[in-house]
């Protein structure tokens, strides 16, 4: 029928199969039309396989859509294309090394993955109250900056998927500023492995607070642009209003948390209900909307970025007072023995520490060696310390058998759970609204598949 190799059709056991890669839907129309001449059994029903490589599916997500004309009668997700066995890998690394793995799960929210894992390990170690204040403030600062960058990507890619390319470009423009801050503070734009059991990897670099304050001031000018660009834009509103409807009952039944549940008007936020890292001492509000739809989720995210800026400002003020305070627990059996410092050849172990272990103290050398190669042991038991990630409840079920490595770490990733709402949000709607509904869930496939 067609000479296009990428859009050829073939006969399968239960119907005709078309391979379509875009711009060539004519072949399907023709193919279905062929049957219409005198053939009464020809039907409008088409099963479309969308993805896993598709620019609109928000990552390597495969959608199997059954269409009746343009109406979706059934929507199913195929996941697992990004499964990398991170949880299994963590069972063969020390407790500290685990951070390096879990930071790669939900790659848009690395600090949240690290934080929930470390909070679980700290609970099992019984050192929750010993983590220094400065480490907790730095965690809060990084998590809230991360929430801003994650929400920006959500809004940016969501805009791109419905054709609002300016929303994408300005979203990524601001996200880049956040990543610059991450690079300044942790050394890396992504995959930081910065939050460690017992505290954080290192102190704030000089000048970081000024950069953060400058960023907050800039964001206060830039954030209104999103509202101006979208809130009164009739095309944007028409695509989002009433799409992907899911009410509170549906959310609870499907275990959905985060901006989706807050878009139903229910102010559920773990930062308020089960505070961790000292969130109870910060002044911020839980943002809600009451439309239960994609537009409501957009507004919740927009408002949450403002709240995150408030928290970042408060955290920066506290950090200014905590200059020189420790960022790791005092227990030398848990704290990483060396501190990083800038040397003539870049970042590395501080020369003071090298001098100490190589020239001054044999015990310090042994201690360093044991803690780095063997690591510490965590008493047997299990812990689950969920936190409010950008997408909802993120928790690590940490199980220890008393060894130097986790017996099991399971991440309850909100993307995985929330993606289950795809069917209820999109069935009965138009095929174009599936994209909007999924974008409003904001699944990150690295977190879904782990």
């Amino acid at each position: 029928m067609s000479t296009d190799y990428y859009a050829a059709s073939s006969e399968a056991a239960d119907g005709r199969v078309f391979t379509v890669t875009g711009q060539d839907w004519d072949s399907i129309v023709e193919g279905i039309g062929e049957g219409l001449d005198g053939d009464e059994s020809a039907e409008e029903r088409v099963v479309v396989n969308m993805g896993p490589q598709h620019p609109s599916t928000h990552g390597v997500l495969r959608l199997i859509l059954e269409l009746e004309g343009e109406t979706v009668t059934e929507a199913r997700c195929g996941i697992g294309y990004l499964h990398t066995g991170i949880e299994k890998n963590m069972e063969y690394r020390s407790w500290v090394q685990g951070v390096t793995f879990c930071t790669r799960m939900d790659y848009l929210a690395p600090f949240f993955n690290e934080a929930t894992y470390c909070l679980g390990v700290e609970r099992l170690l019984g050192i929750e109250d010993d983590v220094p204040e400065k480490a907790q403030v730095m965690r809060v600062l990084l998590m809230e900056l991360n929430r801003i960058s994650s929400h920006l990507v959500c809004i940016a890619t969501g805009g791109m998927e419905i054709g609002a390319l300016t929303v994408m470009t300005i979203g990524f423009r601001e996200r880049e500023l956040v990543l610059d801050l991450f690079e300044l503070i942790t050394g890396l734009r992504m995959n930081h492995a910065f939050i460690r059991p017992g505290g954080v990897a290192q102190d704030l670099p000089p000048g970081a607070l000024d950069e953060i304050r400058g960023f907050v001031a800039l964001m206060k000018k830039r954030l209104p642009e999103y509202a101006d660009l979208c809130n009164a834009n009739p095309v944007f509103r028409a695509r989002l209003d009433g799409v992907g409807h899911l009410d509170l009952e549906g959310c609870l039944a499907l275990g959905i948390t985060g901006p989706v549940v807050r878009s139903t008007g229910y102010p559920w936020d773990l930062r308020k209900s089960e505070p961790y890292c000292g969130y109870e001492t910060y002044d911020f509000d839980v943002q809600t909307w009451d439309t239960c739809d994609a537009y409501g989720r957009f507004r919740v995210r927009l408002a949450e970025m403002w709240e995150s800026l408030r928290i970042v400002e408060q955290a920066a003020d506290r950090l200014a007072r905590l200059d020189g305070a420790p960022v790791m627990v005092a227990d030398r059996k848990i704290a990483w023995p060396s501190q990083l410092a800038i040397g003539s050849d870049g970042m590395g172990n501080s020369l003071d520490h090298i001098r100490h272990i190589m020239g001054e103290s044999m015990e310090a050398l042994i201690h360093h060696f044991k803690l780095v190669t063997e690591g510490f042991r965590v008493p047997p038991g299990q812990a689950y310390v969920p936190i409010e990630g950008p997408r909802g409840e993120l928790g690590a079920h940490v199980v220890s058998d008393g060894g130097t490595r986790p017996a099991r770490v399971h991440f309850r990733d909100p993307s995985f759970t929330n993606l289950q709402a795809t069917s209820v949000m999109s069935e009965g709607g138009m095929v174009a609204d599936v994209i909007v509904a999924i974008a409003s869930i904001d699944p990150v496939m690295g977190g879904v598949d782990r």
Binding site: G255, W268, G381, Q382, Y384, V399, H410
Partner: protein, 263 residues
């Protein structure tokens, strides 16, 4: 590490042939008073032993001359909690007993463990749907949200190797509990919780995929993360890890569980 040290110290004291401690060298009162060397308080003494850890370097029979290879430590998980549990734990336990008695259960949770401020109800597999429904619907319980299923494989827990762990959240009362169900490896069947908590759909599929626990009554229990034709269940401790072949005299890098490493 601290566990091992503590055991050694006790062994020395008990050793009848050993010289008296007094003349043995400089006294170290600070070490004796250290947190890890003090006896466990009476309330926390109950433990549940699951297996034994031998040696320090994982692999056996590799010519270990350090002496640490002879270490034996029991793997002791937190033991059962005794009434009263304190705080809202008793309210939840009482309400659960009452609510499930109506459904015909004498004891809803045969074992209750409280550790690090988290309460775990160990439930018999067959009772799970009844218990979960009571937890969700009862006025005083109201655990509306299930945070999903997490599988854990304890190869040394004879007769109950595979555990499924459910974290439940009551938004009304702002409480969080854990349900734990253990099934033998030989017959890994647990009733599905999808009728009670639809969110368990994908979570149970994942646990089946990774551990091979069969959730009976699940609408479509298929693999979710691994390919459909994948053999085995990767998160199990006995799942072969596979080494990396290297082209040097036919050698290969052994898989992580056969390498020499601290355990």
């Amino acid at each position: 590490m601290s566990e091992g040290k503590r055991d050694d110290r006790r062994e020395e004291k008990r050793d009848p042939a050993g010289t008296p401690e007094v003349g043995k060298g400089p006294e170290q009162p600070a070490a004796e008073q250290a947190h890890e060397n003090l006896p466990t308080p009476a309330g926390e003494r109950t433990v549940r032993q699951v297996g034994v850890r031998r040696g320090m370097f994982g692999v056996r029979g590799t010519g270990d001359t350090s002496g640490y290879g002879g270490l034996t430590q029991s793997i002791a998980f937190p033991g059962d909690a005794q009434r009263p549990y304190g705080g809202w734990y008793d309210d939840v336990a009482d309400a659960l007993e009452v609510a499930t008695r109506g459904a015909g259960l004498d004891v809803a949770a045969p074992r209750v463990v409280i550790h690090r401020g988290e309460i775990t109800f160990h439930v018999r597999p067959d009772d799970l749907p009844v218990v979960a429904r009571a937890l969700r619907d009862d006025e005083r319980l109201r655990f509306e949200l299930c945070s999903g299923v997490s599988g854990v494989h304890y190869p040394d827990d004879a007769g109950a190797e595979l555990h499924a762990v459910y974290h439940l959240l009551s938004m009304s009362h702002n409480r969080r509990i854990r349900l734990e169900v253990a099934v033998p490896d030989a017959d890994p069947r647990i009733p599905s919780l999808v009728p009670v908590y639809p969110t368990c759909d994908w979570h149970e599929r994942e646990t089946y995929d990774m551990f091979g626990i069969r959730f009976e009554g699940h609408p479509a229990l298929t693999r979710i993360l691994m390919p459909d034709d994948w053999p085995g269940h990767p998160q199990r401790k006995d799942y072969p890890l596979g080494g990396i072949p290297v082209e040097y005299k036919g050698g290969s890098v052994p898989p992580p569980d056969q390498r020499r490493s601290y355990n």
